[in-house]
C-alpha cells in the first residue's frame, strides 16, 4: 500500500475509532469509579472500594445492545487487541489482588484502590490504545497519587470530579443516540 493511501487509511481508522468510542460509556463508568472511591474514603465501607469497578463489566453488553445496532459493527485491527482471555485474567488478578490486600490491611490502606485504578486504566490503554483512555490512564493515577500525597484531595472533591465525568458520559451517550438513531431492520439485498 503506498504512503498516501496508508496515511489516509490511518486517519480514517482513527476517526472511526473516536466516533465508535465517543458514546460516553467509558466516561460514565470511570466517573462512577471515582465517585465510589470518594464514598469509600468517606465511609471506609469496603463495598465502595469494589463497587466502583464492577459496573465496568456492563460496558460490553451496553455496547452490544445500544451502540453496535446504531453505529454498526466494525473490527479495527486484530493486532491492536490483547487476546480476550488474557485481558479478563489480568483484570481479575488486579481486582482480586486489591481485594486481598485490602482485607489483609484491615481496610485501612488506600494503596489497593490506587493500584487497581492504575492497573485497570493501563489495561484499557493496552487493549484499545485510543486517546481518551490514554488521558484517563494518566489522569486517574495522577489525580489520586498527587492529590492524596499532597493531602489536598477530600472525598467531596473526589466525588465531585467523578460526578462531572458521569454527567459528561450521560451527555455524550444521549448525543450518540441522537446522532445514530436505530434504523428499522431492512434487508441489505446481499446474498
Amino acid at each position: 500500500m503506498n504512503d498516501q493511501i496508508t496515511e489516509q487509511t490511518k486517519e480514517l481508522r482513527k476517526q472511526y475509532a473516536r466516533t465508535f468510542h465517543n458514546d460516553g460509556l467509558l466516561d460514565f463508568f470511570v466517573g462512577w469509579a471515582i465517585v465510589s472511591a470518594g464514598i469509600y474514603l468517606l465511609t471506609s465501607s469496603m463495598i465502595f472500594s469494589f463497587a466502583g469497578w464492577m459496573p465496568i463489566l456492563l460496558i460490553a453488553p451496553i455496547k452490544k445492545y445500544f451502540v453496535i445496532p446504531r453505529f454498526g459493527y466494525v473490527k479495527f485491527s486484530q493486532s491492536a487487541s490483547i487476546p480476550r482471555p488474557i485481558l479478563i485474567g489480568a483484570g481479575a488478578v488486579i481486582l482480586i489482588g486489591s481485594l486481598l490486600i485490602t482485607i489483609i490491611g484491615g481496610g485501612e490502606s488506600r494503596v489497593p484502590i490506587i493500584v487497581a485504578l492504575l492497573g485497570l486504566a493501563l489495561l484499557f490503554v493496552l487493549d484499545k490504545g485510543f486517546n481518551r483512555t490514554t488521558v484517563y490512564a494518566i489522569f486517574i493515577p495522577l489525580f489520586f497519587i498527587v492529590g492524596l500525597g499532597l493531602n489536598v484531595l477530600t472525598p467531596a472533591l473526589i466525588m465531585l470530579t467523578g460526578g462531572v465525568l458521569m454527567a459528561l458520559g450521560v451527555y455524550l451517550f444521549v448525543k450518540f443516540l441522537q446522532k445514530f438513531p436505530l434504523e428499522p431492520d431492512k434487508e441489505d439485498g446481499l446474498s
Binding site: 480514517l12 472511526y16 454498526g72 459493527y73 473490527k75 479495527f76 441489505d188 446481499l190
Partner: protein, 107 residues
C-alpha cells in the same frame, strides 16, 4: 505510467473503472481502513443509501476486490465485508496511476 514522463492521455483509459467510480472508491477506502465492517457501519461511513451501497458492494464482490460473508457477531446475523488482497493491490495500482496524472495537471 512512470514519474517524470509527459502525460499521455491514452493511459487514462487504463484506470480501473471499477474503482474509479466515486461510490466504489468510498467503499474501498472505508474497507481499507478497517479489518472488516458490517453493512450499517459502511452506510454511516460512506453516507450512501442502503440500495446504492448494496448494488456497489455486489459489483466489488463480483470483481473479487471485497469479500462478503454472513457472520454471527454476538449471536446476531450480520453481513460483513472486508477487502481482499486483490482489492488492496487494485487500489494501490489505481493510486499509483492516478497520482502522476494529477501531478502533471497541477504543473
Amino acid at each position: 505510467m512512470t514519474e517524470g514522463h509527459p502525460l499521455d492521455p491514452r493511459e487514462i483509459s487504463d484506470l480501473d473503472r471499477v474503482i474509479h467510480s466515486p461510490t466504489r472508491l468510498k467503499i474501498m477506502l472505508v474497507l481499507t481502513s478497517v479489518e472488516e465492517a458490517d453493512f450499517t457501519f459502511i452506510t454511516h461511513a460512506t453516507g450512501l443509501t442502503r440500495g446504492n451501497l448494496s448494488a456497489n458492494l455486489t459489483k466489488l464482490e463480483e470483481t473479487g476486490y471485497i469479500k462478503i460473508e454472513k457472520k454471527f457477531i454476538e449471536r446476531v446475523p450480520k453481513t460483513i465485508a472486508s477487502i481482499t488482497p486483490a482489492g488492496k493491490k487494485a487500489l494501490e495500482d489505481y493510486s499509483s496511476m492516478l497520482g502522476p496524472i494529477l501531478d502533471q495537471l497541477r504543473e
